[in-house]
């Protein structure tokens, strides 16, 4: 999930700097050396992830291909479930926000209902994804449309199988099992990496192969201080990293889970 950050509001100085660092600004001689350095630094930070290219995949033998793909799919929910999680958002300005998230997830039709509330139980956000996002309640700062879209995108990325075409299933040069998908509607790429030591890692890339998000899943008992899925393979902890100039991360810790009848 993603807590929305209105970059223009949260970082007026950064944005002013970048705006003033435009080509027009430079031509008009308004750009100082300090600002130029800042611009270069910002561009450097902004485009470093864009320079990444896909790691080569050693394809699984044809007989093992389906098994490799299945193991990647196994990272995600396959039955309808309710999850109650503690949510901590580490925002780009250093602010840290805590909340409780209740989600109902229906993998069969990719439907999601999500409520975010304060520790005192006040509902801050209540929304649904059913092919499109609808919000029935949102309290500032959760009331921006971008927040709801990004949050549901994060939930789908972390908990539902990638909606797209499997491009390759095999292993990286270091032996890490991996599946790579082309996301639906030409929305870039997604990878599932099955680390041997830790839990699976899910990566989302743009069409230009720029890394956008990384999701790390951790299962009990490897994850301490979190509930287990009660015999069902459900991540006890989910960490979602948003990369870029205003990078931030979200941590979800499982508190309760129960199965639901299909929607």
């Amino acid at each position: 999930m993603k807590m929305t950050v209105n970059k223009k509001k949260a970082y007026p100085w950064h944005w002013k700097e970048l705006k003033n660092s435009s080509l027009t600004g430079r031509l008009s001689g308004r750009l100082t050396v300090g600002r130029g350095a800042l611009l270069l630094a910002a561009c450097f930070l902004l485009f470093i992830p864009g320079c990444r290219s896909f790691a080569p995949i050693e394809p699984a033998a044809p007989a093992l291909h389906e098994d490799a793909a299945r193991r990647c799919r196994d990272c995600f929910l396959d039955n309808s479930r309710q999850l109650v999680q503690s949510l901590t958002a580490y925002l780009p300005d250093g602010d840290v926000r805590d909340a409780i998230a209740v989600m109902r997830i229906y993998p069969e039709n990719r439907k999601i209902r999500c409520v975010i509330m304060s520790a005192q139980g006040i509902v801050l956000f209540d929304g649904e994804y059913d092919g499109r996002v609808s919000v029935s309640r949102a309290v500032s700062p959760f009331d921006e449309k971008k927040f709801a879209n990004e949050m549901f995108a994060d939930i789908r990325l972390a908990l539902l199988p990638p909606p797209g075409r499997l491009l390759a299933a095999g292993s990286l040069l270091d032996g890490t099992p991996i599946c790579r998908y082309a996301r639906k509607n030409d929305e870039g790429y997604c990878e599932v990496r099955l680390s041997k030591d830790g839990g699976p890692e899910i990566r989302q890339y743009t069409k230009a192969k720029k890394l956008l998000k990384t999701v790390r899943l951790c299962y009990a008992p490897a994850c301490e201080n979190a509930a287990s899925g009660g015999g069902v393979k459900i991540a006890s902890r989910i960490t979602i990293y948003h990369h870029g100039l205003f990078d931030y991360r979200l941590e979800l810790k499982l508190l309760e889970t129960e199965s639901l009848s299909p929607d």
């Binding site: 309710q82 109650v84 503690s86 901590t88 602010d95 840290v96 926000r97 805590d98 409780i100 209740v102 109902r104 209902r113 409520v115 509330m117 520790a119 005192q120 139980g121 006040i122 509902v123 209540d126 309640r137 309290v139 301490e224 201080n225 810790k253 508190l255 309760e256």
Partner: protein, 211 residues
């Protein structure tokens, strides 16, 4: 028959009225008398169980914790389950702590001040002052319930009403129900309430990482 029925209704009405008066015997039913009756309250310690009811959930989400209050305005609102967190108000300063894998961490987020009204209201309620928040209409009902409703329309969209159920013992609130809308409400039930039993000074001090 009709006459007998009417008489029975009347008796029932009288009985209900009597019951109501018993409910409020501890606190009284007008703001000024209530304040006088709870003026002796210097400190309160109470455990609480919070039930969060959501239409989408089959059963409520349960949180447990403890509340410490010392007049006039020191409060520690602590959740022990499912996530340990502490909200402190003392000497006009508000601070919040959350248990993480690395111990208790202070949260210095910008929205701490928005909690001030919430905490100050609780302190006022503990002193029988239900009508001091100018943003809320306070109605003391004979059933022993104080109903607070937001005057501001925008606030009413977040919280429809708050119901404080008073105990027969002056200074003791049995429960607080926060109704956001028909699909979402929270009930906080207090138990093991102790009045003027003394609270250690450290309770309201800032937590260190080892607390």
């Amino acid at each position: 028959m009709k006459k007998i029925g009417k008489s029975a209704e009347y008796k029932a009405f009288l009985a209900a009225l009597l019951a109501c008066s018993v409910f409020l015997a501890g606190w009284a039913d007008d703001p000024e008398t209530i304040r006088k009756k709870v003026a002796f309250v210097e400190s309160i310690r109470a455990d609480f169980i919070q039930e969060k009811h959501l239409e989408m959930m089959d059963k409520p989400l349960i949180s447990k914790g403890v509340l410490f209050f010392r007049a006039p305005a020191s409060l520690r609102w602590e959740y022990k389950e499912p996530v340990r967190s502490v909200l402190l108000m003392h000497n006009d300063k508000i601070s919040r702590y959350v248990e993480t894998d690395d111990g208790i961490k202070a949260r210095k987020s910008g929205n701490l001040e928005t909690m001030r009204v919430f905490l100050e209201d609780i302190c006022m309620w503990m002193q029988g002052r239900f009508d001091v928040n100018p943003d809320l209409n306070a109605e003391i009902k004979p059933s022993g319930t104080v109903v607070l409703t937001p005057k501001d329309k925008a606030m009413a969209e977040v919280i429809e009403r708050i119901e404080l159920r008073l105990s027969e013992t002056p200074g003791v609130i049995d429960s607080v129900a926060i109704h956001e809308n028909p699909a979402s409400y929270t009930i906080i039930r207090f138990h093991d309430t102790k009045i003027n039993k003394g609270i250690k000074e450290g309770v309201f001090q800032e937590l260190n990482f080892k607390d």
